[in-house]
């Protein structure tokens, strides 16, 4: 396993944890390990939204720094850690996350426009018109793009 692949695995786990935290704080529906996750957005105060945003940002910076530092230190003991194949796989992963962002934003725009055209949310409870809805949509796309990127890295390294 190259340093880049090791980083991709650890980073994927970290971003999935961040996504779970995001879903637990913003949504409700059904119980998972004592926390509620679902398709209904839970309204939050401006202070709570800021707290969640800062929490996610700090968690992401700390997690990425620790993972990148650890894999770099571990890799420094060995030979070549990254070559042209790693760069090619990294480009493919970036393309995958770009398409995720493009698709997600299009779905959100369609949902907002169609919901306002029909007078009610297409998916009950999934309302992006409030501050909470906007914050959730943006954070979901950002965190989701990172997960797609890392998953694409892992898949490209492991595919038969």
């Amino acid at each position: 396993m190259t340093g880049t692949e090791r980083y991709a695995w650890l980073s994927l786990i970290a971003w999935i944890c961040i996504m779970l935290f995001l879903l637990m704080r913003f949504t409700t529906g059904f119980e998972v390990f004592g926390n509620s996750i679902g398709l209904t957005i839970v309204e939050q105060s401006a202070g709570q939204l800021l707290g969640i945003y800062l929490g996610i940002t700090i968690a992401a910076i700390v997690a990425e720094s620790v993972i990148a530092g650890t894999t770099a230190a571990f890799g420094a003991l060995k030979g070549v850690q990254e070559d042209e194949r790693d760069v090619m796989i990294s480009r493919r992963a970036s393309l995958a996350s770009y398409w995720f962002v493009a698709l997600s934003l299009n779905l959100i725009v369609f949902h907002v426009l169609a919901s306002s055209a029909y007078g009610s949310a297409l998916v009950d409870g999934l309302d992006f018109a409030s501050n909470t809805g906007i914050a959730f949509a943006i954070l979901f796309v950002l965190v989701g793009a990172e997960i797609v990127n890392r998953a694409a890295l892992v898949w490209n390294y492991r595919r038969p």
Partner: protein, 70 residues
């Protein structure tokens, strides 16, 4: 592995084992990772021209003695 038509095949595994080199030793010699050498040997990854030439040169052979296009 029998290469499909239009695929680049190579004799790296044969040449490497003949010389008694490990994948890691060849990787270090050409500036690639061991995983990339493994992927090239299994024909899952077609390297750049530069890396392909470097591998052929490391074996002390001509390009077409190492690489074939079918």
């Amino acid at each position: 592995m029998t290469p499909k038509k239009g695929q680049v095949s190579n004799r790296i595994r044969e040449l490497r084992t003949h010389r008694g080199w490990s994948q890691g030793e060849l990787a270090d010699a050409v500036g690639a990772t061991r995983q990339t050498i493994n992927a090239i040997e299994q024909e899952k990854y077609a390297p750049s021209l530069e890396l392909a030439f470097r591998i052929a040169r490391t074996f002390g052979m001509g390009f077409e003695e190492v690489w074939q296009f079918r």
